[in-house]
Symmetry: C2
Subunit: 140 residues, 2 copies
Amino acid sequence: MSCDFCQKPGGALLWRDDRLRVVLVDEPGYPGFCRVIWNAHVKEMTDLPSADRGHLMVVVLDVEAVLRNVLRPDKINLASLGNMTPHLHWHVIPRWRDDPHFPGSVWSAREREGPPRGLPDLDAILRDRLAVRVGNGLPR
Amino acid sequence: MSCDFCQKPGGALLWRDDRLRVVLVDEPGYPGFCRVIWNAHVKEMTDLPSADRGHLMVVVLDVEAVLRNVLRPDKINLASLGNMTPHLHWHVIPRWRDDPHFPGSVWSAREREGPPRGLPDLDAILRDRLAVRVGNGLPR
């Protein structure tokens, strides 16, 4: 079976441990768009034992906290869909009122181009902040 | 400030305690579409203390477990967006391969009509199952 998240990192690696990884996705108009991807090929949250569910959500919310602190978005969107890639992963998406889809979801019809936005070296900044907040993890 | 989830239940009440409520949304083509709504007007998960985040996610995942058990969907979608209504709530959405938007999100372009689907008395069934799984909660 071919699965994108079994075969590829899914973005620029920001943090990882032996159960999951956090990656930065290159999505134009959406600086700081992160994914938290469970390493094992599991479909649903409720396929995980309770301790693993808790660990995954703690990391998802640590990513939310770091993104809020660094980027000061108007809103955070959290989603675990997996209809196309049924390998457990969370989208953590900073949103701004003038971004391409606001107030729709990033999967809704595009409303506008949206301004250029971001920070130089955002990946390095997020790596540092996650290492402080979540802990050192494994080497990249 | 006018807020839909401060003023209205947001769906048919299935379960509640002193912190949150679970409601069934009447969304054609999506039987079992539930929302878990935090009672207080809070914007983001990381605005909650850690114990409250944990409680909310435990209930969200209990709803997922009940929906999988009762409806046997092909996938569950979880999302906390709040761009239109920035009052913390989670969508817990059973998905089927032939539903109106699959494999897109329910906010994506509609792909087809989708077959009629559901169970008679689904609200009563879900109320009973949630009472068993999450605990008795407060009277409706």
